[in-house]
Each structure stands twice: as structure tokens, then as C-alpha cells.
Symmetry: C2
Subunit: 340 residues, 2 copies
């Protein structure tokens, strides 16, 4: 999928810009080759890059590692090391995919939202964490949900600013009725909202939000939430776009550097079989052009190319509908390059 | 809604059994009347009862309380004080409600699963928790996700036993790739599975589960998961039953005592307006008859009565479809009593 995304990137920049592309291993491949899910060389390459395009993190051959040394952790460490705290996950239904969704057309038609997930805090990074054995030999696992007011402030600002550029509605999702961390989250979001009187702020508990997302998704413009709830909500939103294979994402920090990756992770069962949908990776390239390189027109051209191949009936298996044309990963990538 | 549930309970037991019904306040009403979300008298009444039917927990007039003193916390304390650790949330689509769902009929038709949510551990109860201010006046919120192997074992057994009584498939939902607590969860579930070779065990990460629930819900039989993920997943499943107003629940411990409540919480905006759907509360009474009183036939009669009023076209607003008959909370309750 990443190869198809790079092809699309090369196609859209043509001879206008030169591309200095470096490859580096992470996750499962990092563990298998150098025994580290985020090898220092990879981090060094990422640090000096203007933008990072991430493929799946893979699974290591030996899966029996603790979470903090596992394949996924390479990605988590990278997000954190580069302070990429704002993960934008746009959820948009291409009209051609109305039938690919498991939701009724009148419910999903026109869905267009952004889920903004905080990416540097929460249970993902809180200390203490671990598994301990007590005197009687009983074991206990523990992790720490943790947010500082400063962390909440900066993601809240990102949420209000994103809403301001769109339909000016921000929904903050928490569990303030049960968790102190989330009570602080709500309090800080309300405080920050005073600087954005033009944005309409609402609040939902994560349980209610998961339901409303499927009951009435069109009501959402921008959703801002924590790392764990954002992970869950954005996957729950997959069917709103017809398939998780259609969801790109951009992780940004305080400058233009960004990490771009599909919302779907690794799918070891279909990897290398030329059947996976490359469009999430290709749409992630569009986000890269927009946010890291300021090339809005080029970004739009990639997105239009995706729309046009869908209009022409090209479909990978995950979005296949009767009457459409089933193609593989490479054929879909080629079609996008052609359209670009 | 609770009044309608009690009417249905009285109707089905008739003169066959006597009902010793005691009422007690909890949540918002507890806070407003005696300043306690779980007054000692309420806990005492609940302790000596055979079964508890819970109405919404309400919101206190003064909503500005920390989570551990808020309205919802009365319910959490009650679940914990009575060691009701196994929360069964069946998700079943009455065929009459095929059109009420926002999912396509061929996706939701025949959905029949149970979400088993652990109810006494996790972020809901883990210590330490709170909001602290550091030397520079910055604030930090924190909560502790925590599970012991013993807590995981007992809910895993409940899950395997439930699956054994059904289609013999158990899906355990965790986030074992990121959280140590959940890595322990998965390890213990796999260990317990050795005692249930007849049950097919699978695992999903919570993010993937939230997607698959909407993409292909019929594949699930029993889902077992932690307190937080179970809270989210069961609300996310609302549209599979046509409305959250159709989802009952039973919280059980090591004996027959149980707490029965709709999955939907309080809806202050519609409370007292005679428009809420009482069927989740009525179906919770059916679960009570089944699990606390061993009255399977009576339980089935209540469930059949619900099916029959739906067949007769009675609908509250949340499940209303063109051509059906819009009724209020009381009329729906009366219709069920009539059908019983
Ligand atoms: C692979 C995993 C660590 C990751 C996460 O949980 O953040 C993934 O699910 C995602 O959503 O990007
Ligand atoms: C009211 C609230 C504390 C409760 C919970 O989070 O458990 C509710 O959402 C539920 O699902 O029963």
C-alpha cells in the first residue's frame, strides 16, 4: 500500500519538485531485523525528515513481547518522540461508496467529519504501568490514564481551530462523569472555548458518542477526544466511509512536520497478497501535501484522482459492490496515478 | 419507565407469587434529598433484597461535583458493594424493528449476541485517582486501569459458561498490544479457555471490535470485555437492536442476587414527558425473573409480550417507523401488561 502511495506522490509532484525519499524500518520489521521496534537510525531519519509516511507496523515473528516492547510500540514511541500530539482523522463518504457502507444511504450520505485524537498522552504513556506479582503469587496488571491541563489545552486549541476552518462545531468526547482525568479534560476544554465564541461546543460521554456516531453521524463536524477514546471512535467510524480502507490520518505537532498513515493498521492476513485497499495510504499522501508542504492544489488533485477512479468503478475487495470492477492493490494505485 | 417495568412484573406474577417491593433513592435523587449518591439506607435495602431494579441515576441539581461524588457514582458503588461483577447485556433485534435500525436489514437481521462487561474493576475503581496541582500551579488528572488475575478469571469463566449455553463462541476484547493490564487480560482468558475446549475463543482489539460490530455484527455470539470497553461497546451496539431503548441488562455476582437496569442511562431532557421507551426496563424485568427468581417461563412471557406489542405496531418515538402507531411510555407499558 505504501508503494502505491509513493507512486501517487511522485505522479502529482512530477518534475515540479524533487523528492528526497528515505526508507527506514519500524515495528515488526524493526524487531525482526535489529531487535528494536523503533531503531535509533529510524528515529534519526524521521527527525530530519519534513514528513513521514508510515506503512503498517507489522507483527514481529515472536509475538510474545510485553506491550511496551511490541511492534505497535515503535509507532507510539515515534509519535511521542516527535511530539506529534494532534492526530486528524477525517471521515468522509465518497458518494460513489454510498452502497459500500453497512449503514443506510440516508444515514451516511454526506457524512463529513474530522475525529481529532490526542496522541501523546492518556493510558498509552502514563506511568506507572506494568504487571506485578504479589506475595501470594497473584498477578495484577495496571496502567495510568493521565492528562495535564497543558496537554488538554493544546489539543483543545487544535480542535477549535479545525472547527473554525469548517462548519464551526466542536464536540468534545470524554467520560467526565466517572473519571477525574476526563473531568479535568472537560473543564479545560470549556475554559479554552472562551477564546472561540464563534465555535459551537458540545460534549458527549464516550459511550453515548459511540452510539450517536452510528445513529446520526451527519450531526458531527469536528470531534476532539483523548488517545484511547479516539483510537476506538475512529475505527467505529469506518463504516461511515464505506471501509476502514478509506480512512487516512495526519499526526501533527507544533510545526509543519507530520506523520501520515492510514487509520487501519497492519493486516498480516492480507499483506503482500495484492488485495488490500491502498486508498487510505494515498489519501494520507494528500494530507501530507496539504499540511507538511502547503501544496493544497496538489493535495486536491490526489483526492480528485481518488474520486475519479471510484467513479470509473474501480474497487478493491473491501469496497466491492455488484457491477463494479474488482482490482488489486497495484491496479488501484496505477489507476490513481493515471487519473493524477 | 421503571413504573412500567413494575406494572409488567406485577402482571406476569399475578397471584402466583407475592412481591415485596421496596423503593429507595440513588444518584441524583440521593444527592438532592440526603446529600449522598448511595445513601446507607439504600445500600441496606439493596443488600437484603433478592433483586434490584434500577431506574435512571439522574443528575443532581448541582452538577459541579467530582466524578467520585457524582450521580453516576451511586450506581458504581452499588455494583461494587454487592460484588455484581458480571454485567450481561444481550443485543437482539426483534424482527419487527428491522427498519428502525440505521444499519441495512441484511446486516442486522438476526443479530443475537451478549456483551458481557466486567463491572467491578478497571479505570472505574483503580487507585490512585484524582486531580492534583503541582508546584507551578499546573494541574494533572489521573486514573488507574487495574485488573488482578483473579478478577479476570471469574469474568472469563462467566463468559465461557454463557457461550456454552449459546452458540459456543466467545470473543474477548482487549488492547493487549498497548496496555499491560490488557496483556494480562488476554493471557488469563487464554489460560481459562483450556477448561472449555468446546467453546471457540477469538480475540479482537477494542478498536477493531468497534468496527466489526458495525460491519458484520452477526458473527458475534458472546463478547467478554473490561468495564470501560464494555461500557463503550454496548452503547455502540444500540443500533443493532434498533434503539438503545431496547437494551436491557443484568448484573450478577456469585449468587442469584442481581441488579437489573436498561443500558441507557438517564435522559434528563425527556424524563417525565411520557415519551421514553420503557421496553429496555421491561426486558430487564424479564432478565430478573430468569436469573434471580429462576422463573424462565415468566421471563419468556414478558419477552413474548414485548414481541407481540411490537407486532401490533406500537412504537415509542425512538423506534417509530411510517405506518406504525406512536404511543407514549405509559401506553407502551399498558400494551405490554395487556399482552402478558
Ligand atoms: C497499532 C496501534 C498501536 C495503534 C494505536 O492504538 O494507536 C493503532 O490502533 C492506531 O489507531 O493507530
Ligand atoms: C451512568 C454511568 C456511570 C454508567 C457507566 O459508565 O457504567 C452507564 O454509562 C452504564 O453504562 O451503565
Amino acid at each position: 500500500m505504501t508503494a502505491e502511495a509513493v507512486k501517487a506522490l511522485r505522479a502529482v509532484i512530477g518534475n515540479e519538485f524533487s523528492l528526497d525519499l528515505q526508507e527506514a524500518v519500524i515495528g515488526g520489521e524493526g524487531l525482526d531485523t535489529v531487535g528494536d521496534a523503533l531503531p535509533p537510525e529510524t528515529l534519526a531519519v524521521a527527525r530530519q525528515a519534513d514528513a513521514i509516511l508510515l506503512g503498517g507496523t507489522g507483527v514481529p515473528e515472536d509475538e510474545k513481547r510485553p506491550p511496551s516492547e511490541g511492534a505497535g510500540y515503535g509507532l507510539l514511541k515515534l509519535r511521542k518522540a516527535l511530539s506529534l500530539y494532534a492526530n486528524f482523522r477525517p471521515v468522509k463518504l465518497f458518494p460513489e461508496l454510498l452502497d459500500a457502507s453497512t449503514l443506510k444511504p440516508d444515514v451516511v450520505g454526506g457524512v463529513d467529519m474530522v475525529i481529532l485524537r490526542e496522541l501523546n498522552g492518556d493510558l498509552y504513556f502514563g506511568q506507572p504501568r506494568g504487571i506485578e506479582t504479589d506475595a501470594e503469587g497473584r498477578r495484577v496488571g495496571f496502567n495510568t490514564m493521565r492528562y495535564t491541563d497543558a496537554e488538554i489545552e493544546r489539543i483543545a486549541h487544535a480542535g477549535f481551530q479545525a472547527a473554525r476552518r469548517r462548519r464551526k462545531k466542536l464536540c468534545s468526547v470524554d467520560k467526565a462523569n466517572v473519571l477525574e482525568t476526563m473531568a479535568l479534560w472537560r473543564e479545560v476544554v470549556i475554559e479554552v472555548s472562551k477564546q472561540y465564541p464563534d465555535v459551537e461546543l458540545s460534549h458527549l460521554y464516550i459511550d453515548a458518542a459511540s452510539m450517536v456516531l452510528i445513529r446520526n453521524p451527519r450531526q458531527f463536524d469536528v470531534i476532539v477526544t483523548g488517545n484511547v477514546f479516539g483510537d476506538i471512535l475512529s475505527d467505529a467510524a469506518a463504516m461511515l466511509a464505506g471501509s476502514i480502507g478509506m480512512l487516512p490520518s495526519a499526526s501533527l505537532g507544533s510545526d509543519n512536520k507530520g506523520l501520515y498513515e492510514p487509520v487501519h493498521g497492519t493486516a498480516p492476513d492480507i499483506a503482500g497478497k495484492n488485495i488490500a485497499n491502498p486508498l487510505a495510504a494515498i489519501l494520507s499522501v494528500a494530507m501530507m501535501l496539504r499540511y507538511s508542504f502547503g501544496l493544497e492544489n496538489h493535495a486536491a488533485r490526489v483526492e480528485e484522482a481518488v474520486g475519479s477512479v471510484l467513479r470509473d468503478g474501480y474497487r478493491t475487495g473491501d469496497i466491492m459492490q455488484p457491477g463494479s470492477r474488482l482490482v488489486g492493490t497495484r491496479e488501484m494505485g496505477d489507476a490513481v496515478v493515471e487519473a493524477v
